[in-house]
């Protein structure tokens, strides 16, 4: 009897212990203060841009990358790297809600209100004076390039971030429309430059057995990767984008799909769709589905990033020796110019960037580290790696060494991640040459880069900042209006909604307060210009 009782009691106790143990979680609080250790090495915690991932198993984190090892050594600062999945806003918000911030925070571009909001909320601090004091490299850069200073600055002149900077905007010409040059050659057409020439080319792709498999009907003249990017990019021929833009005639901000001329664009696309020139599945195609189609040699043209030119050539050149995918300048249409739709061509500086948190103690060390990273030495390290190891200098020009380009196990693009990050951004000045070593593998890619860069950039808005209540209003209006616009765009193009209803469509957009949204954009644009 007695024994039974004790067994019962101890069992209950055991359960209690295990429940309590299960409750207490090991909380990984970020270390926030920059403290000086015995060996005079300073410590800085840094919420990084992006989650670390590498195809090379021995690389475990940013600290294993040669560039960052070297930066820590040369600045005598130990960086506590904290991964931040920048695509995941909730993770960023959890960090904010915890109330403990690392010394340096890389702010994701999608954070509502952005850097300005963080300064307003007291999470990030104003750096103007500190930059004068401790950041000679950054100060010099901003003084020499007023256009960059304008984009780094908030509307009131506050400088609060150390961003990724593109001195050479050619590096940003990485997206546009591409067409199969070998197919054009087959039908004896030259590269299309106008909307009408595009129609002729796509029609020829449709009517002929381009891939020579005996089936005349399997060709998809114009495909789409995802998000309707291929189809929407043709709106530039009408001087319109499918988002907020500068109107080419008035110079004012407008919302492309709200413009009366948008109807003409829709009519053209409707015709193309009707005649089978556009992939009938375009609205539901994801990247995977598109890649399968493209690899099957049935797609004639599509819009996407420059990487496609290289990867598809690598993939298809053995089976189709004459394979040639080329980048095409945006088509000229009724608007009369070859307008670019690539928003990044107006961005020297993206909306994101590294800010210094209000909890950082050793501001001197923090600013000096950031200044080193954005300065020539730090940028070289991040773009090229370590001299003699990952790159060599020949006739004054840097070149990636064999250790990167001819790695026995990994392709160059992967192998370089041991040393540097030439194609993605952090706190640094991007190098066009380092980027081009990977993205412009074939001459076609170089030509595409040039054509896309030379397009007219009149329509593009610079990165704009909204005030707290403005950004809320914008998100409220646009979450409805954007959904509605995309739905109607599809319906108009696929013929589920007659084009005569275009008036009802703009009327609905008006009811959704689109004009208020345009007003907010205009105000933000005005403030930008007055900086």
């Amino acid at each position: 009897m007695r024994i039974k009782k004790y067994v019962k009691l101890s069992l209950a106790g055991l359960l209690a212990v295990s429940v309590i143990a299960g409750c207490s979680n090991s909380s990984g609080q970020p270390e926030s203060s920059a403290e000086t250790t015995g060996t005079d090495t300073k410590k800085v915690s840094f919420l990084w841009n992006g989650k670390f991932s590498s195809k090379i198993p021995e690389l475990k984190g940013y600290g294993d990358v040669e560039a960052y090892k070297e930066i820590q050594k040369r600045t005598n600062v130990q960086i506590d790297f904290q991964d931040n999945d920048t695509g995941n806003l909730s993770q960023f918000n959890i960090m904010l809600a915890s109330g403990t911030y690392p010394d340096i925070i890389y702010v994701p571009g999608g954070y509502p209100g952005g850097v300005a909001k963080l300064v307003e909320d007291g999470v990030a601090i104003r750096l103007n004076e500190l930059i004068d004091q401790y950041a000679p490299n950054y100060k010099k850069l901003l003084e020499e390039h007023p256009e960059i200073k304008k984009q780094v600055m908030l509307d009131d002149g506050t400088i609060a971030k150390f961003p990724q900077i593109n001195l050479d905007l050619r590096r940003n010409a990485w997206s546009g429309t591409m067409i199969r040059q070998d197919w054009l050659d087959q039908v004896g057409l030259k590269m299309p430059t106008t909307i009408d020439e595009w129609y002729t080319a796509l029609k020829a792709f449709k009517d002929n057995d381009m891939n020579g498999n005996g089936n005349k009907d399997d060709e998809i003249p114009l495909g789409d990767q995802n998000g309707m990017g291929s189809i929407t990019s043709f709106s530039t021929a009408y001087g319109l984008l499918t988002t907020f833009q500068i109107h080419p005639e008035t110079g004012k901000v407008t919302y492309g799909p709200y413009d009366p001329v948008f109807k003409d664009y829709l009519a053209t696309m409707r015709k193309w769709y009707d005649e089978g020139l556009i992939d009938s599945e375009f609205a539901a195609t994801d990247k995977k589905g598109f890649e399968a189609k493209f690899s099957n040699n049935i797609v004639g043209a599509y819009g996407g990033t420059i990487t496609g030119i290289n990867t598809y050539k690598n993939q298809l050149k053995s089976t189709i020796p004459e394979f040639k995918l080329v980048g095409v300048a945006p088509p000229v249409g009724p608007a009369g110019k070859s307008y670019s739709a690539a928003g990044q061509l107006a961005q020297y500086v993206p909306l994101e960037g590294a800010v210094v948190s209000s909890q950082a103690k050793d501001l001197e060390t923090v600013i000096k580290l950031l200044d080193y990273m954005i300065g020539p030495e730090g940028s070289d390290l991040q773009n090229w790696g370590v001299e003699g190891k990952s790159y060599v200098v020949e006739n004054g020009k840097k070149k990636f060494s064999d250790a990167v380009m001819n790695d026995p196990t990994y392709e160059a693009r992967v192998a370089v991640s041991r040393y540097a990050y030439p194609t993605s951004g952090m706190v640094k000045v991007m190098s066009y040459d380092a980027w081009a070593s990977f993205e412009l593998q074939y001459p076609e890619a170089g030509e595409a880069n040039e054509r896309w860069f030379n397009a007219d950039k009149t329509l593009l808005l610079p990165p704009l900042l909204f005030k707290g209540e403005e950004s809320q209003e914008i998100s409220k209006i646009m979450s409805e209006a954007d959904t509605y616009m995309k739905e109607m765009l599809l319906k108009f193009i696929m013929g589920n909604e007659p084009l005569d209803n275009f008036g009802t469509y703009t009327e609905t957009l008006k009811k959704m307060n689109i004009e208020r949204a345009i007003e907010i954009y205009q105000a933000a644009y005005d403030r930008y210009q007055n900086r």
């Binding site: 959890i94 809600a97 909320d121 599945e281 994801d286 998100s475 979450s479 696929m494």
Partner: protein
């Protein structure tokens, strides 16, 4: 268990027992089973800590929540987020789509596992029965992301579904682009994935039916069909009713994962539901207060439906959750 016995006992004699006597009984029971009560404490604590305590967070539905200021520090905005949702251009479409998917699920997906369980129950060959059960359970263990990936692939113009439809002379088209097919695909695949797993609880209920009842029915001349109608079905009816009540308490819920994996701008018309809207508006754009408000509204409606269904059921056939 003890608590249940106690309450059953109390209810049975409830009309004659007085309150002090009841308390005395409770005290006696507590003394007798103190270790069991002690163990039960942890379950209660679990719900207090992990389900009830975080509930104070719903107040952000009435606030303009900012992670920097925290739940307490954010400013009050009253019913602002609720009115914003009700006045939204898409409110009625979202409500309609959410309810329709649930109603169709109730009509088609709810009876499916019951039918499967009845069919399995009639199988005499034990090995065959086991094979069928395992095969029907399996899809339940496949991740929804994988399932949707398969559906997307199969629905393509050159996909499996179109190949099969082609044999019957149906012209190939991407099935996920047709708004009128979305609900069919959504619910059909849901049945395929969940029918086996869902039948387990009914099979358990079936095994609890007294075999003597079948013998008696056979003696009375009932054939297999009549046995199902008059013995089997009434036997599992309480289980069916309880699950039905619970299901009605979820009428405003549609899992957003599957919707966002299957829909596109072309099918928003039938596919966009409250949860997918909240996902876009609340999570992607980080409007936590707004999404909390919408979900609070959802929960309140669900709660009322649950109570209503329970009350009706208690009146009509004396089966109820409480």
């Amino acid at each position: 268990m003890t608590e249940m016995n106690l309450s059953v006992k109390a209810r049975r004699i409830g009309r004659t027992i007085s309150l002090p006597a009841y308390l005395a009984m409770l005290r006696k029971d507590f003394k007798k089973n103190k270790y069991l009560y002690f163990l039960g404490l942890f379950g209660v604590a679990y719900y207090l800590i992990f389900s009830y305590t975080p509930m104070y967070g719903v107040i952000i539905a009435f606030k303009d929540y900012s992670p920097v200021k925290g739940i307490m520090g954010s400013s009050w905005v009253g019913l602002h987020h609720f009115t914003e949702f009700f006045q939204s251009f898409y409110f009625w479409r979202l409500l309609r789509n959410t309810l329709l998917i649930n109603i169709y699920e109730l009509l088609f997906a709810f009876p499916a596992p019951i039918i499967l369980a009845l069919l399995l129950n009639e199988l005499k060959h034990a090995n065959f029965k086991r094979v069928v059960q395992t095969v029907t359970y399996l899809p339940h263990f496949v991740s929804i992301v994988v399932i949707c990936g398969m559906i997307v692939d199969f629905s393509r113009k050159s996909g499996l579904f179109n190949m099969i439809l082609g044999w019957f002379g149906v012209e190939a088209q991407n099935l996920l682009l047709d708004p009128s097919l979305f609900r069919t695909i959504f619910i059909g695949s849901g049945i395929w994935q969940g029918v086996g797993w869902g039948s387990i609880i009914y099979l358990a209920a079936l095994s609890g039916i007294d075999t003597q009842l079948y013998d008696a029915a056979t003696v009375d001349g009932a054939n297999r069909w009549k046995q199902v109608l008059h013995v089997t079905l009434p036997g599992i009816m309480p289980t069916i009713i309880i699950l039905l009540i619970l299901r009605i308490g979820g009428m405003m819920d549609v899992g957003f994962e599957k919707v966002i994996l299957l829909y596109n701008s072309q099918t928003y018309e039938t596919a966009d539901v409250i949860s997918s809207f909240v996902y876009r508006r609340g999570l992607l754009e980080a409007n936590y207060s707004y999404s909390t408000a919408v979900n609070l509204f959802n929960s309140i409606v669900n709660f009322m439906l649950l109570i209503l269904a329970n009350r009706i059921s208690r009146k009509v056939n004396d089966t109820s959750l409480w």
